[in-house]
């Protein structure tokens, strides 16, 4: 059991019609890491994340979470933040909290309410009356209020102002336990660089680099952001 990887992806391929989106992805992830999934727009980051979250069906290959195929058990331990607003707009924040409490045993309601207060979000407000940025903050709070094994955050900083980004990163850092891992997909590398343990570079549907963040920085004698810019220079 101790050798079991939190996330293991084997020979994963995804195509739409004849168009290959992901090609032969092999990846394994242990507990206690913050991993940056980095790549240009359209590189396949979101597709990979959607596959892990059962939102897409693989063309071939296998995804295992704690040794089990994607399903009810994997969904109990993965806390996922998509890049879009996905909550029913007719609901109030308090109703969404109730929904998360109903479905996720690991959801910490008190923590959610505290985080919402920190972000000046009204628990009784309807989501329709919130801006897109506010809705994204609510979603982040919900996701980070779970005691999950794996957090998958797809562009968590995309729609928020720079002032809130630091708060969000601190929220991520201070709200997951040491046995959990976090996968953050973003192209705002400079903002998240300080918190990364590992990086995965993805380009044209293939993983072109997976490395420990510090080792890579020492080897290349530059920041991850600079390495990324060099690698993906147009």
């Amino acid at each position: 059991m101790s050798n079991m990887k939190l996330l293991e992806i084997k020979k994963l391929n995804k195509s739409f019609d004849d168009k290959k989106i992901l090609t032969d992805i092999n990846l394994s992830l242990s507990s206690g890491k913050i991993v940056g999934l980095l790549g240009k727009n359209g590189a396949g980051k979101s597709t990979l994340i959607k596959l892990i979250n059962d939102l897409l069906t693989p063309s071939s290959g296998e995804i295992l979470v704690n040794g089990e195929k994607i399903g009810v058990e994997s969904k109990k331990v993965i806390s996922y933040l998509p890049e879009r607003t996905y909550l029913n707009k007719q609901m109030k924040v308090s109703e969404v909290i109730e929904l998360f409490k109903d479905f996720y045993q690991d959801f910490d309601e008190e923590k959610a309410i505290k985080l919402l207060k920190d972000l000046d979000l009204d628990i009784n407000q309807s989501l329709t009356k919130m801006s897109k940025g506010m809705q994204e903050k609510v979603q982040l709070v919900l996701v980070m209020s779970r005691k999950a094994d794996l957090y998958i955050l797809d562009e968590p900083l995309g729609g928020v102002d720079p002032a809130t980004r630091d708060y969000i990163l601190d929220t991520i850092l201070s709200n997951f336990n040491e046995n959990a891992s976090v996968i953050i997909s973003t192209h705002l590398i400079s903002d998240i660089e300080r918190i990364l343990d590992e990086v995965i570079f993805i380009d044209k549907g293939k993983i072109i680099l997976q490395s420990d963040a510090d080792k890579l920085r020492n080897k290349e004698k530059s920041s991850i952001d600079e390495i990324f810019r060099r690698m993906f220079k147009c």
Binding site: D54, E73, K75, R84, Y86, L87, N88
Partner: protein, 264 residues
């Protein structure tokens, strides 16, 4: 987990449908009051408008139950909300069963509200007498129990609409397996499935007719009078076939869903 999924599906439908239920009853009561008060030209005009509004609400209840069920199904399985639905720790079977139960319940509630509205608007001893006489004439002619006839007729209509809604569900599932023009394919597949299900019902009744001459009489255009026994069999057989088709299609829907989804 089915109960939890159902709780949120029902909440959604109640939020969207309650306005039609309330307005339907409201216009039924208004019409009734206007019928009761002393008639004048103005009261008569308002009364006719009120009747029109009530009938529009009744139609809305049926149309909205169908369209809202499809919209809810599509949005929670394939649109933005699907990012939550598919990441909840519930099986695809539970998600589908919840949608089916929700549809069944709201179609039933819709039927009840329509009957209540009609009752409020038109009930009087004279009207009741007229209706019961009409139904009695039909049932005596068909040698059938009145309650049996009315119940079976309502069940057939209910199952017919329920089947149409589920054809829409399966159409949405199949349409979303395509990579392009998903809405167009969903409508097309739903329509084809509905035609296929109707054809199956009709074909199986025809096959039954091969062994029962009274039922076969229904297919022969030269037969003018309807055989009482054949009509009874037709009602029961149609209901039974719809139940079987609805069950089989729900199994197919779940099987296809369990193969995986590709959300936008």
């Amino acid at each position: 987990m089915l109960g939890k999924v159902l709780k949120y599906d029902l909440k959604y439908m109640i939020k969207n449908m309650r306005v039609f239920y309330i307005l339907s009853i409201f216009f039924a009561i208004t019409t009734r009051i206007l019928f009761e008060v002393e008639q004048s030209v103005i009261i008569n005009i308002i009364g006719q408008i009120s009747v029109g509004c009530m009938i529009a609400m009744l139609a809305n209840i049926l149309i909205n139950t169908m369209t809202r069920s499809w919209v809810r199904f599509s949005s929670s399985l394939y649109k933005d909300e699907s990012y939550l639905t598919h990441t909840l720790p519930v099986t695809k079977n539970d998600i589908y069963n919840s949608k089916l139960i929700q549809t069944f319940l709201f179609l039933f509630i819709g039927f009840v509200v329509i009957l209540i509205s009609l009752f409020i608007t038109y009930y009087s001893k004279e009207n009741w007498q007229v209706i019961t006489n009409i139904v009695k004439n039909i049932t005596i002619g068909l040698n059938m129990n009145t309650i049996f006839f009315v119940t079976m007729f309502l069940i057939v209509v209910f199952l017919e609409i329920f089947n149409a809604i589920q054809c829409g569900f399966y159409g949405i599932i199949l349409g979303n397996r395509k990579n392009n023009k998903k809405i167009g394919y969903s409508v097309l597949f739903g329509f084809i499935l509905y035609l296929v299900s109707q054809t199956i019902v009709l074909s199986l009744i025809f096959v039954y007719g091969l062994f029962d001459s009274s039922v076969m009489g229904l297919f022969q255009t030269e037969t003018v009078s309807i055989d009482a026994n054949a009509f009874k069999i037709l009602l029961v057989l149609t209901s039974l076939l719809y139940v079987i088709i609805i069950y089989c299609m729900s199994m197919l829907c779940k099987r296809t869903l369990n193969k995986g989804v590709n959300v936008e």
